[in-house]
């Protein structure tokens, strides 16, 4: 029985829309709107969706880099949703993040050895600066950067190398779980596989758990154990990877998979072209949020929002097609 390391219960994150002279709140961007799921120890949970679906907000809210509007986050059995700043800072040692943009996620005025050591000194790890820098050197070598470069500045490195530095920074704290927020999306194609392989190796070596947020389904397919699909702030499907790709249930997930261009000229696939654009998260459609674009829409879809139900073992879908 694998441990459940992180539980998200009915998580909600709304961003206020302010207008007018007195900055009155005139509406809400419902970025994450009541989602619940678990992450098990040692797994890679892929969180996939398009822009505006709330996947990045979910990762940031779990870490309380954005404060949740409602709901609970339970990490290692402890409810961390509302603990105070000081206690949260201590928990941060166990939950780290790798950001999407290798260019803005490293302070341009700090040497990379200090960037990586910052976390260690914040949490008073190791005895002194000398020991910490020694560990910095080890971490750099582990992520594939020669430690003799540790006195250099971020702008002296390529995008892929900066991402490695970001990984080393996260690893330095010996975390239990790492949020990978589109960690390879901004990298060149030939560099992506290097970083993906590195992340996989590190996971085995350090027994890490990943929440891998991405919009690229091919990467999700390669790296995840389980997959969660989000649309406009809601979870529409959860399944084990193989089951998800072999037996995709939700119409949106099916459209998403069919939309991904495959680098194989002979590949034949079922073409599902969605109509229209993604609606605004400030004004989501009534009922099922996907219904205006769904080819299998029924009357009930515009009235009642479907709940996430377990249709097959460990395979959850939020769709009226499977409950009627």
């Amino acid at each position: 029985m694998v441990n459940s390391m992180l539980q998200v219960k009915n998580l909600v994150k709304y961003f206020p829309i302010k207008k007018g002279v007195f900055r009155k709140t005139v509406g809400w961007i419902k970025a994450v709107d009541d989602i619940s799921f678990e992450i098990y120890e040692g797994e890679t949970l892929g969180l996939v969706g398009e822009s505006g679906c709330g996947k990045t907000t979910t990762a940031l809210t779990i870490l309380r880099l954005e404060e949740p509007t409602k709901g609970q986050i339970i990490f290692n059995g402890r409810d961390i949703t509302r603990i105070n700043k000081r206690d949260m800072r201590k928990e941060r040692k166990n939950m780290q993040i790798i950001f999407q943009d290798p260019y803005s996620s490293l302070d341009p005025r700090m040497k990379i050895k200090d960037i990586i050591a910052e976390g260690m000194s914040t949490h008073s790890m190791l005895k002194n600066a000398q020991e910490r820098y020694k560990r910095v050197g080890e971490l750099l070598e582990r992520v594939g950067i020669p430690d003799k470069y540790m006195d250099r500045f971020p702008h002296e490195f390529s995008g892929g190398q900066r991402q490695r530095i970001g990984i080393a920074r996260a690893l330095a704290l010996e975390p239990k779980i790492i949020m990978c927020d589109e960690a390879v999306s901004a990298l060149d194609v030939s560099i992506r596989s290097q970083i993906i392989n590195l992340l996989k190796d590190l996971q085995k070596e350090y027994n890490l758990t990943y929440l891998f947020v991405a919009h690229d389904l091919s990467v999700i397919k390669y790296i995840s154990d389980r997959v969660i699909v989000m649309y406009l702030g809601k979870i529409v499907e959860i399944a084990d990877k193989k089951e998800f790709f072999n037996n995709t249930l939700h119409p949106y997930a099916q459209a998403l998979i069919s939309a991904v261009p495959v680098p194989n000229p002979d590949y034949k696939k079922k073409r599902i072209i969605l109509q229209g654009d993604v609606p605004s998260p400030a004004n989501p459609p009534k009922g099922c949020r996907f219904h205006p674009r769904c080819s299998k829409v029924m009357k009930i879809c515009s009235e009642i929002e479907p709940k996430l139900n377990e249709i097959k073992e460990k395979h959850f879908v939020a769709c009226h097609l499977y409950t009627h």
């Binding site: 398009e50 822009s51 390529s158 892929g160 190398q161 060149d188 194609v189 030939s190 560099i191 992506r192 596989s193 290097q194 993906i196 392989n197 919009h215 690229d216 389904l217 091919s218 990467v219 397919k221 390669y222 790296i223 790709f245 459209a255 998403l256 998979i257 069919s258 939309a259 991904v260 261009p261 495959v262 680098p263 194989n264 000229p265 590949y267 072209i273 969605l274 654009d277 993604v278």
Partner: protein
């Protein structure tokens, strides 16, 4: 030339350099390819490979400190590089049109969509503003924008990303160009929107029997839309062949490396191959073959001598000393998806 058909566009040994105060950046240093009527050429490469600069060089839209220093761009039998600015102005928009990656910055934010489409029409055809506006509405409808009569008077920021890209396609297609150059047109879009746009482009091209140069780093997009492919690395074309050949029988180690290192939706992969190292700094290109530091088949010759683009068979050009090694790897079945 393939099967004795003359190409619509022939680029021969194109060289465009940037003369910066830090040194000369040889952004495009020997690019050769052909585009045929009614066909799509996919130019694939990563950042700093020179693919965008190639497009700008063809359109002669380069800005200081960039300058095309060599080669030929033969369009419908004439060398564009020898044309004056006035002559190019008559070609741009009308014969050759271009669409860009970021529709928000490519479209003028203070002019309505309709105005921007009409602009091109009024310049190239002597028609009145009302006629141009009418045609603009038709074009918006053709690219699949709902309620075009309303949209034509809206500003770019009022449209979504996918809509803006459609508007840009409408603008580009307005004068029925023979050649459309698309520079990463769908990279900034969500994948479901990308599918819509690619679908649209495919149907428009079929209707007009137009030619398209699709520039992208996404091999999946290339597989869907291109007929022939040119792979670029460090300012040069390293392989040029038709789609099936590139995907099933690549000869250049870089092409091979790209194909084996990307995660795939159509396959169960146990391990991703990698291309070690990083994309070279354009100011400090390696000696010899530009790919040699990252190439697992590199020999001493590769480190000293730059290979030329060689015709291996009809319609297949490669720039490499060691294609036999790649053939061996392909035979081993290491190229997945075959």
């Amino acid at each position: 030339m393939i099967n004795n058909r003359k190409p619509l566009l022939e680029v021969k040994d194109l060289k465009t350099y940037f003369f910066t105060e830090d040194g000369v950046v040889k952004a495009v240093d020997g690019v050769d390819f052909e585009v045929y009527q009614g066909e799509t050429l996919g130019i694939v490469g990563e950042s700093a490979c020179g693919k965008s600069v190639t497009a700008f060089s063809i359109m002669k839209l380069l800005d200081y400190p960039g300058k095309t220093v060599g080669g030929e761009v033969i369009f419908k039998g004439e060398n564009l590089l020898e044309k004056t600015e006035d002559e190019m102005r008559r070609i741009r928009g009308k014969e050759i049109a271009m669409i860009f990656q970021e529709p928000m910055t490519a479209l003028n934010p203070v002019l309505t969509v309709g105005f921007q489409i009409s602009e091109a029409l009024m310049i190239h055809f002597k028609i009145s503003k009302e006629e141009a506006m009418k045609k603009s509405v038709e074009l918006l409808k053709k690219v699949g924008i709902p309620i075009p009569e309303q949209r034509v008077n809206e500003y770019p920021h009022q449209l979504s990303g996918g809509m803006r890209q459609r508007a840009m396609i409408a603008m580009a297609m307005s004068c029925d160009p023979s050649l459309l150059i698309a520079d990463e047109p769908t990279t900034a879009l969500d994948v479901t929107i990308q599918a819509q746009i690619l679908d649209l482009m495919r149907s428009l091209l079929k209707d007009f029997n137009g030619s398209l140069i699709m520039i992208t780093h996404d091999l999946g997009v290339i597989a869907e839309i291109a007929d022939r492919i040119a792979v670029m690395y460090a300012g040069k074309v390293v392989e040029h062949a038709d789609k099936k050949t590139i995907f099933h029988n690549p000869l250049h180690p870089y092409t091979f490396g790209l194909l084996t290192s990307i995660p795939r939706l159509d396959l169960e992969l146990k391990r991703l191959d990698t291309i070690p190292g990083i994309v070279p700094d354009p100011l400090h290109f390696p000696v010899g073959c530009k790919f040699n530091p990252r190439c697992r088949f590199a020999t001493d010759r590769c480190k000293e001598e730059e290979p030329c683009l060689v015709k291996v068979e009809e319609g297949h050009l490669v720039r490499c000393w060691n294609i036999e090694s790649v053939i061996k790897e392909v035979k081993k079945g290491l190229l997945v998806g075959v």
